[in-house]
């Protein structure tokens, strides 16, 4: 799978783990533990990824060219050099946008059917 041969829609719908990691990386590169913390933060602590799930998903996402490793370190002095940092590729960003649009359409449909609490 690569960004030259695949269209973002070919990968939809994404698994929750993949989408959570894409979201976590949307605002910059992170290492495994900080991805896990960010996922916990954006899901109000309801999802805590284990190391197996996180790195299994990272491996798949690297193969699909959704993310890539980066040598840049936000704060090299404070950091453990054994950590690996990941960031979104352009293709990963397009896939995240396509999935977000898909979910937004679903949310609108759910709102129209009065399935969303507090929606008018």
């Amino acid at each position: 799978m690569s960004d030259t041969t695949m269209h973002p829609h070919d990968l939809l719908p994404l698994t929750p783990a993949v989408f959570h990691i894409l979201l976590a990386l949307a605002d910059g590169e992170k290492h495994g533990y900080s991805i896990m913390q960010e996922v916990a933060r954006i899901t109000d602590g309801t999802i805590q990824m284990g190391p197996g799930t996180l790195y299994g998903t990272v491996k798949r996402m690297l193969e699909a060219r959704l993310i890539e490793e980066t040598d840049e370190r936000p704060d090299p002095d404070m950091d453990d050099e054994r950590r690996r940092y990941y960031r979104l590729t352009q293709f990963g960003e397009r896939v995240a946008q396509a999935e977000t649009a898909r979910l937004a359409r679903l949310l609108n449909a759910a709102k129209a059917k009065r399935l969303v609490e507090g929606a008018t």
């Binding site: 799978m1 533990y33 284990g50 190391p51 197996g52 790195y55 299994g56 491996k59 054994r82 690996r84």
Partner: protein
Amino acid sequence: MKMKPPQTSWIALSARAYRALLILYPADYRREYGALMVQMFRDVCRDAYRRRGLMGILMWWCKTILDLAVTVFEQRRKVKLVFPKSLLGRQAGLLLMLGGAFSALAAISQFQPDDHYIYYGIYQVLMLMFAPAYALIGLGCFGLAQRYAETFSTISKWLLYLTGIGALVMVVGLVATALRNTLWNIWFAGGIVHVIALTLFGLVHLRTPTLPVFRGLPLMMAGGWLVLMFGVLRTASQTSNNLLSFLFMFGMGLGWLAIGMAINRQQRATVSDPRLVPER
């Protein structure tokens, strides 16, 4: 003497235990991500201990065990799918192993005491086992051609397809002969195609070995077939003819079995060494 704070021991012990559990993952995955997973596990342990003490670590362990159970299964399942892509290509080793084993078993039919133009009783049952044997071997040959499509020369690939087609025609012939004895020609025609293609493949393989077995093995197997099919094997007594016939057929079955086993072994080695896994 300086004592370690208790949380350090719990965290270190947990990390060691988790590192030991990583043995459950496939070797290539462990090599690539094992250290990172242990580091992340340790980070979370430290956090959990700071927030909830020992109970925090225990709760993290509960989540981790669940995570481990699910993801070990996922990674192990994926390993089988890494190489190669087609179903026949993936299962070539298994098909040839089963085909070889059936063929070796069917070779016992050669112990029928009198001549072998008509088989009867248990010998007929054993002889008919060549049908599933050669169906599996035929499909296995197709699988080999697909599996090594990028490393085989075009001629090797097509010779293997031809070997497989010959084997499948033999299966039709065997079943047809069981229904009507005069139809043995179909079996013979299939055998001719099979043996000639295998001989030519064996010659090419002798020059440029590709399969993970002794380079002369395919040619030796084809040689055994030639001896049997063209009746070169004639000794003083029926008993010694039967014994030699059995040994040749049994040997050919073992040959396919050996190729199948070698391919399976190579597949395991391939997936445990990431350098050998082709890029997808």
